[in-house]
């Protein structure tokens, strides 16, 4: 379960088989991307080269980096995954818990502690990274191969964290609370800006004998310094080329200009002077003037872009700035702008790829390929960090303190939540499944699921909306099991336009024709008779009063589909109620 719809690719799909072998599971993060297998194939190559292949660092050291960066980014999903992998590698829980709480006090070797300091500085405060940080690693016995590998793994960590933030997969393992990043503050001195290198040794490679360089030369007209700086790892460069090709190459969903705009805006958000300069150059080659690129990076709302592309870039900015979290409503907003599952997945993948590249570039300190029109300075970095601070949610959740108590193990607090929300959940479920006995089973299941997964509830919506999403999914599952009697998933709105048949006026105060109990019975009977796919929408919108966006998220529907079903449901219900409430209707016996 994630923000996007999944496709069954089967366990034999090679990337999944590889993940199964090396993670012990096919992580939901990758299942969430199943609508575009080419992206998964590119990701599998880079993960294999950077993480699974034995080179200089051990798998345990790499997983430490992935865990520590996940904690720093508050990426609950990634923390749960890497915690479990480290467990399976034999690292005891108490040591892992220490890394999660405060890595500097964890019982790891001095070189490993230095490695984690370096990775976290690169992930969180890359513009402050300098040659001194590289030398510190050398003093702990790391050679250039292992430092390059540390930079690559840190880049991979930012890639995975960005994917997980953008896709919202359900954790594969029990989530861990991440508190450490609260205490981190930027270094007071030593701002470098990301172009103070190159820091590492390289090997001369020519485009004639090294295919990745031939591809760069063909695509960009030059070989970017960022890739020249990684020549100690030709296998990784090959995997990067494959990943770029699979993510950036096709234009069947997002256009090439849209993808470059994403890379430009996200690099700007990361204050990456080098990458902004290169993407301005790429856009120029695609016919976008330098002035227009400057406008896009400065404020894309003022640029000459469609309103859809502006909405897309709003999403990218939120996702790229590492501590901002994406919620269901952000995905619903993209759908409302006409973007499909594949567009959204590509957007998340391009942004994740950007964060990978930005991290590598600052870790390697490569100098610009073209003269930058923008050089981001210390002032930009401090402003950006201030904006990035986790902000109090504007939406106040009346259940927040109870949820916190449940997370701390307080069962009485959970009982209070069940009592508080039992009526809403019950109404939703009876409305969706259409009968009380089945609804009561689903009711119990809803609260059990909520209890089991409350660790992953991050407050992106209110607890109440989160709970109703679980209830809706549980209710829909009941309906699916009942197929073909009732079909919810039939997405083809093939029926002819619905034409209201009864056009006699209604009484002025129709509700006064019946007692409260009678009205309720009339409505319940009529709602229950609606076809399931219309009924569920009506229940969430008109009975539970969810907003259009909330209901779309809860039912995993696009907003246009939700709206069309809601109108149809209301019109059908109107026909069903007309005999009771139209002016000529005699008071009907029930």
């Amino acid at each position: 379960m994630s923000y996007l719809q999944e496709v069954d690719l089967g366990g034999a799909f090679p990337p999944f088989a590889s993940f199964q072998e090396h993670f012990g599971v096919v992580p939901n993060l990758f299942r969430a991307q199943s609508s575009l297998p080419r992206i998964l194939q590119g990701e599998a190559e880079i993960i294999d080269a950077v993480l699974f292949k034995n080179w200089s660092l051990s798998r345990t050291q790499k997983e430490y980096i992935l865990l520590a960066v996940g904690v720093a980014y508050r990426a609950t999903y990634c923390v749960a995954l890497h915690y479990q992998v480290l467990r399976s590698l034999g690292v005891p829980d108490h040591q892992l818990d220490q890394i999660v709480i405060n890595h500097s006090k964890a019982a790891v070797s001095t070189p490993d502690a230095a490695l984690l300091d370096f990775a976290i500085k690169l992930a969180m405060y890359a513009p402050w990274l300098s040659g001194d940080d590289i030398d510190a690693l050398r003093n702990h016995g790391f050679n250039d191969e292992s430092i390059l590998e540390a930079i690559l793994v840190t880049g991979l960590a930012t890639f995975l964290c960005t994917l997980s933030t953008g896709l919202g997969p359900w954790p594969d393992f029990e989530p861990r609370a991440c508190l450490a990043s609260n205490d981190m503050s930027p270094p007071e001195t030593g701002y470098v800006g990301g172009t103070g290198g190159p820091y590492l040794r390289t090997v001369e490679r020519s485009p004639e004998s090294f295919p990745p360089f031939a591809i760069f030369l063909e695509r960009f007209g030059f070989i970017p310094n960022l890739f020249r700086a990684q020549t100690l790892r030709p296998d990784v460069l090959e995997a990067e080329v494959k990943l770029f090709g699979n993510v950036l190459g096709p234009k069947d969903f997002l256009s090439h200009v849209q993808k470059e705009c994403i890379l430009l805006v996200a690099s700007g958000a990361n204050l990456n002077t080098y990458c902004v300069a290169d993407h301005c150059e790429m856009l120029r080659a695609m016919g976008v003037s330098m002035e227009e690129s400057d406008q896009i990076v400065l404020d894309h709302h003022e640029a000459d872009l469609s309103k859809e592309t502006k909405a897309l870039l709003d999403f990218v900015l939120k996702l790229a700035v590492r501590r901002s979290s994406i919620g269901n409503e952000d995905i619903a907003n993209l759908r409302a702008h006409g973007f499909t599952e594949e567009h959204i997945l590509e957007t998340v993948a391009v942004t994740a790829l950007n964060n990978f590249l930005n991290t590598l570039q600052m870790g390697l300190g490569t100098t610009p390929d073209v003269k930058p029109r923008h050089v981001y300075g210390l002032k930009d970095a401090l402003v950006s960090l201030a904006e990035e601070r986790p902000q109090e949610r504007a939406q106040i959740d009346p259940d927040a303190s109870l949820v916190a108590r449940v997370k701390a193990g307080d069962l009485d607090a959970f009982e209070e939540l069940v009592t508080r929300h039992s009526r809403r959940v019950h109404r939703t479920l009876v409305g969706i499944v259409g009968n009380v006995p089945e609804a009561q089973d689903a009711f119990q299941e809803t609260f059990l699921k909520a209890f089991r997964h409350i660790g992953s509830f991050q407050g992106r919506s209110t607890f109440s909306t989160w709970l109703l999403t679980i209830a809706s999914n549980t209710g829909l599952q009941c309906l699916r099991e009942r197929k073909p009697l009732e079909s919810f998933d039939d997405d083809h709105e093939t029926e002819d336009e619905f034409h209201p048949r009864l056009v006699r006026a209604w009484a002025n105060n129709p509700e006064q024709l019946y007692s409260e109990a009678e009205r309720r019975e009339i409505v319940e009977r009529a709602v229950t008779m609606l076809p399931a796919k219309y009924r569920v929408v009506l229940v969430l919108r008109d009975i539970e009063q969810l907003s259009t966006g909330e209901a779309a998220v809860a039912l995993n529907l696009g907003i246009p589909t939700l709206k069309s079903r809601l109108l149809r449901a209301r019109l059908m219900l109107r026909e069903a109620l007309a005999p009771h409430f139209a002016t000529s209707a005699k008071r009907m016996s029930l």
Binding site: L411, R423, R427, L448, V503, V523, V527, L538, I543, R570
Partner: protein, 79 residues
């Protein structure tokens, strides 16, 4: 003047107050002239109100406590 089909195409957004002022004016001009759409609009609004106010599918108070107890008993045995 818009047609009945055009009215129906925007009707859902109109019910939810999600149309720009200009479109709203066009819809209201149509309703003022078209008796059928006027009836459909009025009765659909009343339908939504009746459904929203009906208290449908509410859990009776007496039934709530045993259900909550059952769930909590199950959770307590699980952990």
């Amino acid at each position: 003047m818009i047609t009945c089909s055009e009215f129906m195409a925007e009707f859902g957004n109109y019910l939810d107050n999600e149309v720009p002022t200009k479109v709203r004016q066009q819809l209201e001009d149509h309703v003022a002239q078209c008796r059928t759409c006027q009836v459909i609009c009025d009765s659909t609004r009343k339908t939504v109100k009746i459904v929203t106010d009906s208290g449908s599918f509410d859990l009776p108070d007496a039934a709530a406590k045993p259900i909550v107890d059952r769930i909590m008993a199950k959770i307590r045995t699980e952990i």
